[in-house]
Assembly symmetry: C2
Homo-oligomer: 407 residues x 2
C-alpha cells in the first residue's frame, strides 16, 4: 500500500455525525437545502429538465449521494455484473467514472517508485493517473510479439523484479488501443501465470474493465478476468474498475464502480472501504447523485438487457464491417498490417518499419479528410465504435492510400 493509502482514514466528522442524526425529530446536521424533512427543494428550472423522474428520485438526484454511492444502485450493479458462480467480492463503491476508480486504486496501491506494469501499447493516461499523481514507476511490457498477443508477458516481466517487491499490474481487456480479448486458452495461461507470479510478491492486479461486455466473437469469453482471479492466491489482489460508460452509452454521466476481492463485511474489505471513502471525499466530495439515479432507473427496467444487447450488436456490425474491409484492402500489403482484434471499440494497424504513424496521421488529416489516432512507434488506432458500418470500407481505403502516399 502507498504512504497515502496507509495514512487514509475516514474522519469521524460531519458526514459521520450526520449519519448518526438520521431520523431524529430535529436534525440540524445537514448542510443541504431541504424542506425540513430531508427532501430537496428543487428549483423549477432544474426540475423541468428532469420531469420524468418520480418526486423521490428527483430529490435523490438533487441531494448529495452517500460517499460510497446510492445503495440501491450498488446492489443493482452487483447483480447485473457478477457471474453467479464467482467467489465472494465486495459490493461495488461508486466512483466518478472509471478513471476516478483508477485514480483511487492508484492512491491506495501506487505511490513513489512502485512498479506498475502495463501491457503496451496502452492508454496514455495511466502515466498521469499512476505516475504523475502518485510517483509510481510505469513499466511498459510489450503485449505483442510478431503481432501475436502474449498471455505471459506480464508474468515474464514480473519475474525480473526483486523477489518480495510488491508490484501492480494492469489488465485492460478488451484492450485499448488493441481491441483484444484473450481466447479461453490464453485466458487460462494468463491467469495461471499471474497466480504463479504472486508467489514471489504481493501483486495487485488492476482490472480496467472499461470495454467489458463488448465482445463480438462467440468463442471469446465475455466476463471480466477479475471474476476468475478471485480467491486464487492470498498475495494476488485483483481490483475491478468498471463504468456504466460504454454498454450504457453514458459517457457523460461519470458513473464508475470499484469492486474489492473480499466479502463486503470482511475486516479487510471494511478497512479498504474506509480508506477509499476518505480518499473519495478528499478528491471529489461525493459521487454524482443525478447520474446514479438515472442509471438506477435504467437498471430497474426489464428492457435494459435487450437495450444493452442492441448496443453491442450495433458495434458488432461495425466490427464485422471493419474485419471485412481490412481483409479485402490489406491482403498482400507490405506496408500496413492488421493486429489481431476481436472486441472493444478499437482496432490497431501496424505500419512497416520506416513509416512514422504521426506523419501518417497528419497526412490523413491534411489530404484525406480522415482522422485516426497515432501511437508511436508504429501503430494507428481506428475507432470502429463511432463510424457507421457503411463508411468503414472507404475509411480503410483512405488510411491505406494515406500510408502508401508516404512510402
Amino acid at each position: 500500500m502507498s504512504p497515502v493509502g496507509r495514512a487514509a482514514v475516514y474522519p469521524p466528522d460531519i458526514p459521520f455525525q450526520a449519519q448518526q442524526a438520521r431520523g431524529k425529530r430535529y436534525n440540524a446536521t445537514i448542510g443541504q437545502i431541504t424542506d425540513g424533512m430531508g427532501r430537496a427543494i428543487a428549483l423549477p428550472s432544474l426540475a423541468a429538465s428532469l420531469g420524468a423522474l418520480s418526486p423521490a428520485d428527483l430529490s435523490a438526484a438533487l441531494l448529495y449521494s452517500p460517499i460510497g454511492g446510492i445503495p440501491e444502485l450498488r446492489e443493482l450493479w452487483h447483480r447485473w455484473h457478477r457471474p453467479q458462480d464467482a467467489a465472494p467480492s465486495s459490493l461495488p463503491l461508486v466512483t466518478v467514472g472509471l478513471t476516478h476508480g483508477l485514480a483511487l486504486a492508484a492512491d491506495l496501491f501506487g505511490g513513489p517508485d512502485r512498479k506498475v506494469l502495463v501491457p503496451a501499447p496502452f492508454w496514455g493516461n495511466y502515466r498521469q493517473v499512476f505516475g504523475l499523481r502518485t510517483g509510481a514507476d510505469i513499466v511498459p511490457v510489450p503485449a505483442y510479439r510478431d503481432r501475436q498477443w502474449q498471455p505471459t508477458a506480464l508474468a515474464e516481466k514480473l519475474a525480473e523484479l526483486e523477489t518480495g517487491e510488491p508490484a501492480v499490474a494492469i489488465l485492460n481487456l478488451p484492450s485499448n488501443p488493441g481491441g483484444y480479448s484473450p481466447t479461453r486458452e490464453e485466458r487460462r495461461v494468463l491467469i495461471d501465470s499471474l497466480v504463479e507470479a504472486s508467489e514471489a510478491r504481493p501483486l495487485v492486479v488492476i482490472c480496467d474493465d472499461a470495454y467489458s461486455g463488448l465482445v463480438y466473437e462467440p468463442e471469446i469469453p465475455r466476463a471480466s478476468v477479475f471474476w476468475e482471479l478471485l480467491d486464487r492466491s492470498e498475495s494476488l489482489i485483483p481490483i475491478r474498475l468498471a463504468g456504466a460508460t460504454k454498454e450504457f452509452v453514458f459517457f457523460g454521466g461519470r458513473v464508475g464502480f470499484l469492486t474489492l476481492p473480499y466479502e463486503t463485511a470482511s475486516p479487510v474489505a471494511q478497512a479498504l472501504d474506509n480508506k477509499l471513502r476518505c480518499l473519495l471525499r478528499a478528491g471529489v466530495g461525493s459521487p454524482v447523485a443525478l447520474s446514479q439515479v438515472i442509471l438506477a432507473q435504467a437498471l430497474r427496467n426489464d428492457a435494459i438487457d435487450q437495450e444493452v444487447a442492441a448496443t453491442v450488436e450495433l458495434l458488432a456490425v461495425r466490427y464485422r464491417a471493419l474485419k471485412r474491409a481490412l481483409a479485402e484492402t490489406l491482403a498482400g500489403s507490405d506496408t500496413v498490417f492488421e493486429v489481431p482484434f476481436n472486441s472493444g471499440a478499437f482496432a490497431m494497424l501496424e505500419l512497416a518499419s520506416g513509416l512514422d504513424p504521426e506523419a501518417v496521421r497528419q497526412t490523413l488529416l491534411d489530404d484525406f479528410d480522415t482522422g485516426v489516432i497515432s501511437i508511436p512507434p508504429r501503430y494507428l488506432r481506428l475507432a470502429f465504435c463511432s463510424v457507421e458500418a457503411e463508411d468503414i470500407p472507404e475509411l480503410v481505403r483512405r488510411v491505406v492510400r494515406g500510408v502508401e502516399s508516404l512510402r
Copy 2:
C-alpha cells in the same frame, strides 16, 4: 507550485488528436458510441428519464464533456457570477463539484510541507484535501477572539513565517461552520492585510465560495472577496472555487468552477489551464456532462434569477427564525453563547469552558431526539438551511436543555 503542479503537462495524446480530427468526413478517433455523425445513440431506458431535453442536449448529456467543461456553460457561469467592474479573470474551468476544484488547487499549490493557513474552526475535509493528498502542512489560525471575527488573523499568522516562503491561505466566506461574512469595513481590513502580507512572499489565496450569495443582512457585501483581490499585487494569487451546489440546490449534480485571476488568453492562464486539465483528466477523466447540460438549461432560463432569489429568501426566513430563537433562549445564559453569524447555512454556538461539545451531541441524540454537529474544543454547529423555520425555536430549546443537563 507543488512538485506535481510543476510536472503536470497536458499530454498530446488521444483527446488532443481527437480534437484535431473534429469535422473530418471520416473520423475514427472517437472512443464513444455514436451514430457516425458524432451524436450519442441513447438507450431508451436512459433517454426516458431525460425526456425533457432537446435531442442536441440529450446527446451532449450522454457523451463526454470537453475536459475543461462545456463551453456554453462556462460562458453562462462567467456572466452570471462576475461583477461588471471586476478586473480580468479567466473563463472558469468546470470541476466535479467544489471539492474537486479544491483538490485541483491543492495539487497545483499544495505539496509536501507547504504551509496552508486555515481560519479555525474549519471544514475538516481541508485536512484530507490538502494535507493527506499532497503532504501540505495545515496551519489552523483562530478566526475569533472573544467571539469576535478577526479580519487580520491570517495576515498576523503569515507574518510569523520566514520571509520569502510561499504560502497558501484559505478564505471560506460565508464560512462553514461559522456562517460569517465580513462587514464592508472588515472586508477592507482583510483585503489590505492580505495584500500587505503578499509583499513578503508569494501568497495563493484559495477563495472557497461554497456559500457565496447566501447573505441575509442588507449591509453585508454579497459578492465574493475574490473579485476584490484581483489585480492587487503580483505576488497575491487568488483562486476562486465555486459550485452550482447551494444556490441551485444541485448538491447531487457535482458541478464546480475554478476561476484563475488572469485573462483567459494570457500565457500564465494558458499554462495553468494546461496543468489543470492534465490533473483533471488524471483524476476523473472529464467533468459530468449530464449535470452541465441540466445546469446550462436552467441558466438559459430567464426565471433563474428569481428562482435563486427565492431559495435565498427561504433560507433568510430560517436564518431570522434562528436569530430570534437564540436571542430569546440564550439571553442571560452563562453556558451557551451565540457566535456572530449573518450568512451561509450554519450558526455556531460556543459552550462555556468545561463543557464537551461531543458529550452534548451524544446527549442530544440519545435524550432529545435532536442532531447537531460537535466541533472540538467548544462549539456546536446548527444547520439552519435544512430545518423548517417553525421547528427552529424548539430545536434551540432542546439544544439548551441538552447542554444544561450536563452541567
